[in-house]
Amino acid sequence: MNSLKQTSQWRVVAASVCGKSHQQKQQLCQDAHAWQILPDNILIAAIADGAGSASMGKIGAIVAAQTAVANICAGTVTRRILDDDTSVRLLLIEALVAAKQAVMEEAIACEKQIHDLATTLIVLIATPEMVAAAQIGDGVAVVKDFAGNVFALTQPQNGEYINETTFLVSPDAINTAQLRLLRQVIVNVALLTDGLQMLALNMDSGTPHQPFFTPLFKFISDVNDKSDGVNQLVSFLRSERICDRADDDLTLLLADISN
């Protein structure tokens, strides 16, 4: 119990771990995440998942996630600016464009084809009063509001086949990106790559499985020591229960602003 009244601050715990299947094939983990907190309680975050078939998917994911966050943070981002829907939309799209450009430049620098760095990307901007996301590909952004409702802000994008999705480097990716904006008092945000989808979502309805998120949101609100929090999250993602159901690389980013 806090006896002092404090201004609530974003707290973030995130981890990316390598999937069993990639470990077995001695491939690198291809998931990445990045985040930054700006003054006035503005959270900028991104997660990315490199395509399994892309020889440098890992690099693509890292470049995409880091560039997206850096691009938004380099500009002027204030609560006032975020009050305007068009400005929010612009910030997100510019982040996607910058990420794609950076991935293309990396491909050239490494003398590879752009599809060798194929990756999905989810970019998030959140304050205590709003949350906005841009998403290319699968994975999902989940939000919990002040009333305790947990719902999906975005939906995993798949083709006919479960393993088909759009990548940042796909021709029409930015034009067809999901853009979502919600103006509501929120307390939690979670970003996950597709490795956790089957465990976290009811796939037929695309709704979050409440008993998956509730303990995780409680965990992040209780965390005091950040590195301990990350260790616990990593242990969770590497636990037998998870590995039995998920072979893929896993990324989970949890954010809390409840206390």
Partner: protein, 224 residues
């Protein structure tokens, strides 16, 4: 107040049906396959099953169906998940109604996709794996032509991934005309190695993320 339970003890998982990875084995059981070939193939089927079972996710996701073609077409095994698959003991006799066999395999794939969609089950691109030691024989040319056209159209539209393996005296030239993907010639009767490759491939597909193509393990059991 610290929570002494670990996260993996308190976080509950959603119950979703596993996505399915359907694989049709389309097998030539014509007279020429009698003896060594069909025996080796039967053994290979056991290797296939046992290898798939080793990976718990693949065992739940890969679905195996078997169709044989000789003078008739027989549905030997309707789709069943790998962990439930009991290999049949195939025998060989008769001609080679390959065109009709291809139609049946494509029908089977189409019907399965429809069932998946009706039941809200996610799926990967289905595979058909055709094994033959000859070429179409005993059918009208137009049946074979129609099957070929249908197969080419299905591949172009990514409805299926169709692989052809030629054994012994298979007419590889004829098979290259029917199949879109280059047929592979099996080394000797190395069915076991071929089936192990197939199992590894299906396992790779069953947890892959792809744009175009899954990276398949190298083929050590056959050649182009």
């Amino acid at each position: 107040m610290n929570d002494t339970l670990r996260l993996d003890e308190i976080v509950e998982f959603a119950e979703n049906p596993e996505p399915r990875c359907p694989c049709v084995l389309l097998i030539d059981t014509s007279g020429s396959m009698q003896g060594g070939s069909i025996e080796a193939l039967n053994e290979g089927l056991w290797s296939f099953k046992n290898d798939l079972k080793k990976n718990s996710l693949a065992a739940r996701r890969v679905e195996v169906g078997i169709i044989t073609f000789d003078s008739e077409i027989n549905l030997i095994q309707n789709f069943v998940t790998a962990d439930q698959f009991e290999p049949p003991r195939l025998t060989a006799n008769g001609l080679t109604n390959m065109g009709a066999g291809i139609h049946k395999a494509l029908d089977m794939v189409q019907a399965r996709k429809s069932e998946y969609r009706t039941n809200g089950i996610a799926y990967y691109r289905p595979w058909v794996f055709m094994i033959t030691d000859g070429e179409p024989q005993g059918e009208l040319d137009q049946v074979v032509e129609q099957a070929t056209r249908r197969l080419h159209d299905d591949e172009a539209n990514k409805r299926v991934a169709f692989f052809t393996v030629g054994v012994e005296n298979a007419n590889m030239t004829r098979l290259s005309q029917i199949s879109v993907r280059t047929p592979l010639k099996l080394n000797g009767l190395n069915f076991t190695e071929m089936f192990l490759w197939l199992s590894a491939s299906m396992t790779a597909v069953s947890y892959s993320k792809v744009d175009e193509q899954v990276a398949l393990p190298p083929v050590g059991w056959g050649s182009i």
